[in-house]
């Protein structure tokens, strides 16, 4: 595919953003319908181009070389930007544009009549553009640029209803926590540059990703350098992908409009972290330490987040914890070396998770609330939403033969086969997560769609003002078609993209083989491990057990959730209070330690020592030097003295250095 076409994938949503914010909003007003259509057109065209990119990448054996262009330079430093088109990029492009397109179409219905309609679509275009830029980048600094812009997009959209204090707080929290994590990424960039001489000696640019791959091939990156760079990169990834212990922003991010959550959770923002680790996977592979850290953090996150999903009553939060948990899954897959399986799971997850979020949007549209305690019985009011939500739940739980089953199974098989203690441990964690996932998904499904309807927004004292209250019934077509379309890949894509047998059009293990065909990744254990029938049967049984437990507790109610809750009261409280992480971070670390102590001390020092020193000396001078009083105002002397002392300090320092 020609280079200009590849750039268009990125520039079309950018053009849409500019068109909406510079032309449409000022001339046609903040509610112009045109904004939605422009965005859909741009993202749709990007989607088509992404498919072209995927096919041409396949046709050119997994890599298309594009030239680099200078952005800015100083001395020998040169910031060159370019496109990296490899299997990872191609797959990500399709995921991002495909899911984004569905979300944009859906939003026409969901955001209908909102005062900030144009702002919504402008931000959505920007957000999609940023993610595409990240995926396409062939330079670490270029990645950093779009990485931060992804953060901006999420900030604008999570805080979309900015007059709600909770939304404004959630947006800020998401940005600051991810920025905190990005500090690690920044240090990784600096450290790589610090060690850039070996690159330059081999005529390579330490920031160009293909050059980094090349350097790894040549063996000129030492394990020590690779380890620290990889860990820094992973720190950044932990923030965006909401990995333990930086997960706290993601549940709060539910304050954004529901289609935004669908986009964030399926295709942009949180998948960016997994993508980033995958992008620098050759670097991680050199360092066993980095790999084990990734695997363990992923494994811990997988069950940690799932455990909070077990008790949440907010349907979107259940899905949010589910996302965190699934991202942990992908990370642990990367950590045990299952590169192809991780991206395969990212791929399948994108479809069913987008489907589930949009489904929850429909539920909210009908009931006016997100609290599942006030739902129930929606199956008969909204059969299509129910059917697609069921498909999504089954796929997420990993039930044969839906998409989620195949990708999840591949990760489990990899962890099982890895043979080292870390692999064994994370396999165990992953298996526990399978059980929890099936349980909380079907708990949510039963609470929402089965049983009797419990009143919706009218019964819920905390129902948010947006959502238009209660009007039971199926959503309009524009909000149903995206679900129906997404349901197809949620069922089929797992088997079709990565089949166990040769399907003719699609060869056996196509996706894994394709992802591994990247020439830079030749050290990988090639392909997927053999399909392990007994392992697959076992993990399916575990998932079914989770569903069964949910069925007994929330459908036939042979086991009372209240009784269980009372039996494990402390555990229940711990889970529903999210392990007190918000309290630890916000109340103790930020409010007490940072704001109350550190910043207080600095501010006190500034006023009462630095500035007061001047005033004190002035007072002393004014009193002692009464003879000179008529010559000076006191103030003059004050600052004169202060500056003189400052100068003496510098002077002393100078003498000290010289001596």
């Amino acid at each position: 595919m020609p280079e200009a076409a590849a750039w268009l994938i990125l520039f079309l949503p950018l053009a849409s953003f500019l068109l909406i914010s510079i032309v449409i909003r000022p001339t046609l007003g903040s509610a112009s319908q045109l904004a939605g259509y422009v965005t859909i057109l741009a993202v749709g065209a990007s989607f088509v181009l992404s498919l072209v990119a995927l096919f041409s990448t396949v046709a050119s054996d997994g890599h298309i070389a594009y030239p680099l262009h200078d952005w800015f330079s100083a001395g020998e430093f040169n910031f060159a930007v370019g496109i990296l088109m490899d299997p990872l990029t191609a797959v990500m492009l399709v995921v991002v544009t495909g899911v984004s397109l569905m979300v944009q179409i859906y939003s026409i219905g969901y955001m209908h009549g909102d005062r900030g309609y144009t702002r919504y679509y402008a931000s959505m275009s920007l957000f999609t553009m940023a993610m595409l830029g990240l995926v396409l980048a062939n330079n670490l600094l270029q990645i950093f640029v779009f990485w931060e812009l992804v953060g901006l997009g999420s900030y604008l959209l999570i805080g979309f209803w900015f007059d709600r204090p909770s939304a404004a707080a959630a947006a800020k929290k998401a940005f600051i926590i991810t920025r905190f994590a990005d500090f690690g990424l920044l240090l990784a960039i600096l450290y790589l540059f610090f060690n850039g001489d070996t690159f330059r000696a081999a005529d390579l640019n330490p920031f160009v990703i293909t050059d980094i791959y090349h350097a790894i091939d040549l063996g000129i990156i030492s394990v020590g350098v690779a380890q620290w760079v990889a860990l820094g990169i992973f720190a950044g990834a932990m923030g965006k992908s909401a990995q333990f212990p930086l997960h706290t922003w993601l549940p709060d991010a539910m304050e954004g409009p529901t289609p935004v959550s669908a986009l964030i959770h399926a295709a942009t923002m949180v998948t960016a972290g997994v993508f980033l680790v995958a992008r620098f996977f050759p670097l991680f592979e050199i360092s066993p330490v980095a790999m084990n850290v990734v695997a363990l953090i992923g494994g811990i996150t997988a069950i940690f987040a799932a455990s909070m999903g077990l008790v949440s009553n907010d349907i979107k939060r259940v899905l949010a914890y589910s996302t965190v948990s699934q991202l942990g899954y992908m990370m642990l897959a990367l950590g045990v070396g299952a590169y192809g399986a991780a991206i395969f799971h990212l791929f399948t997850h994108a479809f069913f998770k987008a489907l589930l979020f949009l489904g929850s949007g429909n539920v909210n549209h009908a009931t006016g609330t997100f609290d599942m305690r006030y739902m129930g019985g929606l199956r008969k009011f909204m059969p299509w939403t129910y059917a697609t939500f069921l498909i999504g739940s089954l796929s997420l739980s990993g039930i044969f033969p839906l998409s989620g089953f195949w990708s999840k199974d591949e990760i489990l098989a990899h962890a099982f086969d890895s043979g080292d203690p870390v692999g064994g441990l994370v396999f165990l964690l992953a298996l526990i997560a399978v059980f929890m996932t099936a349980f909380y998904m079907f708990r949510a499904l039963f609470m929402t769609f089965n049983g009797d309807f419990k009143g919706g927004a009218e019964a819920d004292p905390d129902a948010p003002t947006h959502g238009g209250g209660l009007h039971l019934g199926e959503s309009p077509a524009v909000m149903l078609w995206p679900l129906l379309i997404l349901a197809v890949p949620a069922v089929l894509i797992g088997f079709v993209a990565n089949p166990l047998t040769d399907l003719g059009v699609v060869p056996i293990h196509w996706m894994s083989e394709f992802l591994h065909s990247n020439p830079a990744l030749h050290n990988l254990h090639s392909g997927a491990p053999e399909f392990n029938k007994s392992l697959a049967a076992f993990s399916s049984a575990v998932a079914l057990a989770g569903i069964l437990l949910a069925y007994m507790m929330y459908q036939v109610k042979v086991i009372s959730p209240e009784v269980v809750g009372r039996m494990f009261r402390p555990l229940y409280v711990l889970l529903s209070r999210k392990y007190y992480f918000d309290e630890l971070y916000e109340d103790i670390l930020v409010r007490r330690v940072f704001y109350g102590s550190v910043a207080y001390a600095f501010d006190w020092f500034d006023r009462s020592v630095v500035d007061a020193l001047a005033r004190l000396i002035g007072w002393f001078g004014a009193n002692a030097g009464s003879a000179l009083r008529q010559l000076q105002t006191g103030q003059l002397q004050t600052y004169g003295m202060a500056i003189s002392i400052g100068i003496l300090i510098i002077f002393g320092a100078f003498l000290f250095v010289r001596g």
């Binding site: 330079s73 100083a74 950093f144 707080a169 500090f183 600096l190 500056i643 250095v657």
Partner: protein, 510 residues
Amino acid sequence: MGFSGLLTITVFLPIAGAIVIALLLRGDKLIRTFAALVATADLVLTVIVFARYDTSVGGVQMVDKIRDWIPGMGDGFAVQYFLGVDGLSAPLVLLTGLLGFVAVLASWHIGHRVREYFMWLLALQTGVMGVFLSLDFLMFFLFWELELLPMFMLISVWGSEPRNKREYSAMKFLIFTILGSAFMLVGILVLFFSTGTFDMTALPDAIAGGKLLLPAGMVFTLLFVAFAVKLPLWPFHTWLPDAHTDAPTAGSVMLAGVLLKMGGYGMLRVSVGMFPEVVSQFAWILATAGVINIVYGGIVVFRQTDLKRLIAYSSVSHMGFVVLGIASVAGVAGSVSPLGLTGAAMQMFTHGTITGLLFLLVGFIYDKAHTRYIPDLGGLAKRMPFVTVALMVAGLASLGLPGTSGFVAEIMIFLGTFTVWPWATAIGATGVVLAAGYILWTMQRVMFGPIKERFADITDASGMQFVPIAVLVFAIIVVGVFPSIISDVFSSGIEPITRSLENVAQTRLR
């Protein structure tokens, strides 16, 4: 050498305008319009100067020089008239033209002693412009002093209430700077009596080749103190929050936008350009001081409740990046990268536009809401969408978001200095995390959340108010997306400095 006159007009046009206003014009409206015309003309001139500067040739260009301007008062004490522009000053000249223009437009609502106000404002612009364009050290000094009085008047007459507070702040500003420049004057005179010249283009060689009356380190220190006070470097920074808080909007814009840059410019042109050897030895002090500024300023910001004071402390933090960038002069293993110095220069330019915009918007909010006390504000976004977007752009640029000019400067500084001072840079880089915290927290408290009842009728920017805001937003984004417009010019000015630093580093290695 010659006399093209372009720079002379650029420097003196504003003060000529001020004289016309003082002597000839009557009526507030006329004065305002005339001042705006003068500022616009000067902006056009600075754009011409910037655009005409040829980086492929480099060096000093568009020279206006009269060798014996004030001829022989005794033995060779001839003062020359010498204006010239090089890669280091060209972008700063543009910045001064830009912010001078913005400052005049931002003063449209001034109704108190209008004539004097615009007189001082225009005179201030000549002072700053002269500092950036003088290549004769004595002239440099005169312009440095010339800028003081207008600023003092602007703060003490048109500053915020109460009167005794603003007079205190104005006096504090004046005394800090004057004492700094007293040391500078001594330094300049020592240089003159040692080398026999005030010519700033000849001084680097003269200092390197000759013998100074005082140890070079001491002369360096004398000059450095003046720049450090102006920048301001901790612990000389306490004048800044007071002056900023009490200055009128245009005063704050000029103060933060260009006056602080005089300090950074002096460091690059004089401290680094003339004393490469000394500055390399002292680089560790610069690195430490820069980091203290960044972290100390960045933490103190959090406790501020006055919007202007908050931005003032964020300036302390951001100007620390300039010093951190300069600290890269020490180099590693005999090689000095221009990246850190270019980044420092870029940071001056971008901080000028970003903080200029921040003060402009805060002044605007204050005029509408009649308070700058953050707990009293809230929810303004609902009624002020344009101001909110502009404040968001400025805020995001301030926290170094890519796509804005703030990012380019900071990443250059980090990359350039990390290779020399890894630990200091790593600590300094926490400044961007702090910035994210205080900027977004401030946005949340001031603009977001439900709108307070008393602001129900507040209005957004309109008419004339759009222009200066839009101009700065545009500048921030254009430089963020196409940084080489500015950075290539700075690079060409930094290049000879880097070469002399490299010589020093090589000699030291041997």
